[in-house]
Structures are given as structure tokens and as C-alpha cells.
């Protein structure tokens, strides 16, 4: 099983609607990262969360890390076609190991 579980695996959302993607770990997260990936491109860094309860926003994307630092959510408000892609969460498991979730494929329906 994955150390980082993402849900849902795929999501189709009507343009303009809100959506949430979750990333859950059985262990405390130290450094939780959200990335976006489009076909044929490298991962794009979105946000990093480190403190329990921390919340960060960038344009219409908000990410939160829960108080226990075991779950993070990524929320997109008023989705647009440009939001389509794969969203990946990542975490530092140790000083030399980085782990990733399985990804959530987001499609935006016009």
C-alpha cells in the first residue's frame, strides 16, 4: 500500500465548480508538498505545508494541513480548464527519502 494515499484517483468536474483532493498518511508528515503535472511537462510545485493547521492559497487553489499533520487537502474554487491535470502530493519521509501519493487526475468539463 502507498504511504501517501490520495483520493479520489480521478475527478471530472463541471467548469466553475469547486473541488477537493485529499492526501492522507498513517504517519506524521514533515513537509507536505503539492504538485501539478500536465502531459509532457515536468511537475510544477504548487505549495509546501509544514505546520499543523497551516493553510496556504495561490490564486484559486488552497491547501491545508490538519492539526495532526497526517492529512492535507487541496481545494480549487471555481475550477477552470487550466486546472486540468494530475495533482500529486509528496512528503519528506526522511532526510534522503521523498515519497509521493498516487496522484489525482482532474478533468474539467466545459
Amino acid at each position: 500500500s502507498q504511504e501517501l494515499e490520495q483520493s479520489p484517483q480521478s475527478l471530472i468536474v463541471q467548469e466553475g465548480k469547486n473541488l477537493t483532493i485529499n492526501c492522507t498518511s498513517s504517519k506524521t508528515l514533515y513537509g507536505l508538498y503539492w504538485y501539478k503535472q500536465k502531459y509532457g511537462e515536468g511537475l510544477i510545485f504548487l505549495m509546501m505545508l509544514q505546520k499543523g493547521g497551516e493553510e496556504k492559497s495561490h490564486e484559486k487553489i488552497t491547501a491545508k494541513l490538519d492539526e495532526k499533520k497526517q492529512q492535507s487537502s487541496l481545494h480549487i474554487t471555481a475550477s477552470q480548464p487550466s486546472h486540468a491535470g494530475i495533482y500529486l502530493c509528496g512528503a519528506d519521509r526522511s532526510a534522503s527519502k521523498i515519497i509521493f501519493g498516487s496522484g489525482t487526475r482532474l478533468s474539467i468539463r466545459p
Binding site: 508538498y33 504538485y35 515536468g42 511537475l43 534522503s96 521523498i98
Partner: protein, 113 residues
């Protein structure tokens, strides 16, 4: 089956030395990516190879960094005249044709003293 492998897993070098990092992608994967993650920061995209097309080098931070890939096989990332700010975990990922799912290797931790 075998996943993406990288070597070495750890590398300690002195400032000014050259280092070479290796990535063995999953067999048959046409796309290969290099990233680095410095302490406390997110992944930085470095370079992308897709088949025999010219690589996307837009993420390479300086001309001290270069990467090669022969066909759809092994890739090497070379850092010349290493600096302390090059210290990071260097990650490689590969993707099969027709999909954008990236499969990551375990990374190489580079420490420049």
C-alpha cells in the same frame, strides 16, 4: 517488475569537483525527467527527455548542469564544479508513451562540502 533505479544513493563530494548521477528508467518508458529537491523546498524541474526529440532543458539552473540520454535508456546528470548550493536530493522519473504518469526513482542525495 523493476522500477526506476538511481545510483549512487548517496554522494558526498568536495566543492569544485564534478559528479555524475545515473538514472535507469523503467524499460520501454520513452519520457525521462530529472528533478532536484533542496532541503525544505519543493521539487525543481531540471530537464525532460522524450524519445529522440530535443530535450527540454529549461529547468537547468546553470551551464554547470548537463544531462544526456541515449535513446530510451539510461540517463546521466552531470554537475561540473559543484557548489554547496547544489546539495540536494536528485530525483529521476520516467513515463511510458501516451501517459503522463511519472514513476519516480529513489533519488540520489548529493552533499557538497
Amino acid at each position: 517488475g523493476a522500477g526506476v533505479s538511481q545510483s549512487p544513493s548517496n554522494k558526498v563530494t568536495e566543492k569544485g569537483k564534478d559528479v555524475e548521477l545515473r538514472c535507469d528508467p523503467i524499460s520501454g518508458h520513452t519520457a525521462l525527467y530529472w528533478y532536484r529537491q533542496r532541503l525544505g523546498q519543493g521539487l525543481e524541474f531540471l530537464i525532460y527527455f522524450q524519445g529522440n526529440s530535443a530535450p527540454d532543458k529549461s529547468g537547468l539552473p546553470s551551464d554547470r548542469f548537463s544531462a544526456e540520454r541515449t535513446g530510451e535508456s539510461v540517463s546521466t546528470l552531470t554537475i561540473q564544479r559543484t557548489q554547496q548550493e547544489d546539495s540536494a536530493v536528485y530525483l529521476c522519473a520516467s513515463s511510458p508513451v501516451g501517459t503522463d504518469t511519472q514513476y519516480f526513482g529513489p533519488g540520489t542525495r548529493l552533499t557538497v562540502l
